[in-house]
Amino acid sequence: EPEVTQTPSHQVTQMGQEVILRCVPISNHLYFYWYRQILGQKVEFLVSFYNNEISEKSEIFDDQFSVERPDGSNFTLKIRSTKLEDSAMYFCASSEMGADGYTFGSGTRLTVV
């Protein structure tokens, strides 16, 4: 069964450092997403990406965050200057048609120290 692959599975970084989280969506999917889940809290929407541009972003997704699809297979989330409160599980997801059939990756656990 096709799956969304995320790397690394766990990343520890110092406050103020830049991190890049990587995702390989399912190959025939057109819509890409990043969500995050702070420990013990809801899964929260960050950003959606379609046709090589951001289609929607949440209030969380401020100027410190950016997304990119550098080639035909990868989808990345960059946090320019990490803060302690950025510590969370970050999930990448993709779908073929809008919100239907979302498939999530296993996540990257980001720990900012």
């Binding site: 809290q41 809801k42 959606s48 949440s58 809008g98 919100a99 239907d100 996540g107």
Partner: protein, 109 residues
């Protein structure tokens, strides 16, 4: 703003003891209501999509139903391997998912 409330927060069942999980929602123009299963340290795993009131879907011991205000996930004769957090989410006028906090289900053998 879309809102999803799930209850109970936690549910402990004995193996074979059927029960239901509730998801109440407020959304402007429901596109779809989704149920996911999440195991510790993993991403949400898709279970069902429901699109309109009255719709029902089944998969093994799980059955999801939808009304205009809420959805139920019925678990029939659960097994220990059904233990997980069950997440409900909705999409409205856009394609983003709004999640509830989830119900942590524990099934004891």
């Amino acid at each position: 703003e879309d809102q999803v409330t799930q209850s109970p927060e936690a549910l402990r069942l004995q193996e074979g003891e059927s029960s239901s999980l509730n998801c109440s929602y407020t959304v402007s123009g429901l596109r779809g209501l989704f149920w996911y299963r999440q195991d510790p340290g993993k991403g949400p795993e898709f279970l069902f999509t429901l699109y309109s009131a009255g719709e029902e879907k089944e998969k093994e011991r799980l059955k999801a139903t939808l009304t205009k205000k809420e959805s139920f996930l019925h678990i029939t004769a659960p097994k220990p391997e059904d233990s997980a957090t069950y997440l409900c989410a909705v999409t409205g006028s856009n394609y983003k998912l709004t999640f509830g906090k989830g119900t942590l289900l524990t099934v004891n053998p």
